[in-house]
Subunit: 166 residues, 2 copies
Amino acid sequence: MASEVFNGRLISVRVDDQGLELVAHPPAVVMVALEESGDVWLVRSRRPVPEQTLVEVPAGLIDPGESPAEAARRELHEECGLEAERWEELASAYSSPGFCDERVHVYLATGLRHVGGEEPAGAVEEKFPAGIEEALRLCSANLQSLAALLLASRRLARGGGAGHPG
Amino acid sequence: MASEVFNGRLISVRVDDQGLELVAHPPAVVMVALEESGDVWLVRSRRPVPEQTLVEVPAGLIDPGESPAEAARRELHEECGLEAERWEELASAYSSPGFCDERVHVYLATGLRHVGGEEPAGAVEEKFPAGIEEALRLCSANLQSLAALLLASRRLARGGGAGHPG
């Protein structure tokens, strides 16, 4: 038995019978959008935690009733004005399974087309391409972005499959 | 201005003036403990979220007053009965910066010595070594473990420095 101590707009918190505080959070998508040049798209977003802007790979929450793949397509369009011909799920994993059920679906998107949405949406202040090494350096404060970039890098080093560019 | 809606043993939750729900959570350490053979140490732990056991790299929360490096040494000893001669911080990043301030310090530990603690501590049910590829497969549900393993793998591929085994 767990008792709910907070039920908010996005998250809820319960305390289980061992006193552990557990957060329920919607699942999320994180996308590595890879150009044929090898560059990936990054966004600079305002983040309430840690109250500063962070450079990240595109990401967002899955809306109720939406599949992870649908959310990934929607968020990449909203944040970067991009559509992708090929999508490959690289991981589906918990961001912090000690206390939170947020599941993160990591995608590699290739075969990119620029379809508009030139003004970044929502909390995104800027979007720009960068090489993978620079992206790893710029995204160093976001572990989800680092994981996504490293998963994509490993996927590309292995070659073959739908995720391979060009 | 943000109003606090829950203040628990480990986490607290506040709602900011835009209605965003923000979780304060202690920082954590995640360790890749690398044997000279190339194997890394994994643990199987009970996790209240998602209510099952997960295979992970050793990890834990930083206690109040403890440095990240101290916590890393303590947790590796507690969970795996290991001490390490060389420690290298591979990343210090937020696990989910959209809503939570949990900062995760990722370490590569080499020059391992087995000093006891043969009975895994706390929620850890089992500990065992595995090759990096198998570890990536076994840890596929934990994004922090995946990030740590991939950061370590990349670090080793580059060679040199204190983190290089042997």
